[in-house]
Symmetry: C2
DNA sequence: ACGCATACCGATAGACAGTATCAATTAAGC
DNA sequence: GCTTAATTGATACTGTCTATCGGTATGCGT
């Protein structure tokens, strides 16, 4: 194969990016009519490789061979299809992470950046009741909890 | 007085911006060592004049005679001194509003943009307990509730 | 296997919100 | 009034994300 100044695309049969997680997400996307492309697999793979909440720029840096616009588009698609959820830091920086099923909230460690799902936490009903008292009909909410994880606690 | 191409400053004695709210905030700032300047009073006055959560750009537009940087700085100062609180819309747009005393949350109407304080809502303890269960020590949180206010509920 | 329609890609330019810089100005205390 | 440090405003800049658009590759029907 001859080197070119163009990026690899499918025509030179690169090693397909594949793993249980990637295949699963690609299959879910396929079910909704989205194509199975190599750049998209690369994005999903990089997302799955992140150990903690990451920024879009983190992904771009981890994927120098994928266009920025493609990374952002891929990320947005994953958010829209609920494969990835968005997390907001105290300084309003937006991060992402693979979403576990169902609606839940995150606890973010201000020191190491780790996140943990907030389990057994039904603020929903309480908020709805309080909203009612204000004459509002609640349709959604955004909640982030900040603190220190066990390892960073003092 | 001769017209110049420079903006008015104190030297031509413009009508001082004053009202109960403005004077009160200016006094609080003075207590913390911040000067009483005309641009700052203008910003505070414009903030007080807003009927609902507003953006920094709203203020800039309402204050064409005050520099952008000054508006942003003034707003930040007001947030840091707890005179104004920040509110996050569902699309992550940042808005501001005069803060009423004490920690509380906001209910935002997705239709008309109105906001109401969420009263009798102690999510704090519940969150802290849930965080404990995840091994976290909670230090803060960010909560916004979205929905429809009474008037927009149809 | 082949061809077609169209989703998709990447490079780049641009929109946008907010910040840094810095000389000029002014508030506040003496 | 005078001094000095805080403040201002014009502007340039940063960083994040989106729009555009020519070209490409995927998935499907055949």
């Amino acid at each position: 194969m001859v080197a070119t100044n163009f990026k690899h695309r499918g025509h030179d049969h690169p090693a397909p990016i594949s793993s249980a997680v990637v295949d699963d997400i690609v299959a879910q996307l396929a079910r909704q009519g989205y194509r199975d492309t190599e750049p998209r697999r690369l994005v999903i793979s990089a997302v799955a490789a992140q150990g903690r909440p990451f920024t879009a720029e983190d992904l771009c840096a981890a994927l120098p061979c994928v266009g920025r616009a493609t990374v952002y588009r891929g990320l947005r698609l994953l958010v829209e299809t609920d494969q990835v959820c968005r997390v907001l830091l105290e300084d309003r920086e937006l991060r992402y992470q693979l979403s576990h099923q169902g609606h839940h909230h995150h606890m973010l460690c201000a020191i190491c950046g780790a996140s943990a799902d907030l389990i057994d936490c039904d603020v929903e009903d309480i908020l709805r009741a309080a909203a009612d008292r204000s004459g509002f009909r609640m349709s959604g909410h955004w909640l982030e909890v900040y603190g220190r994880c066990g390892e960073c606690a003092d």
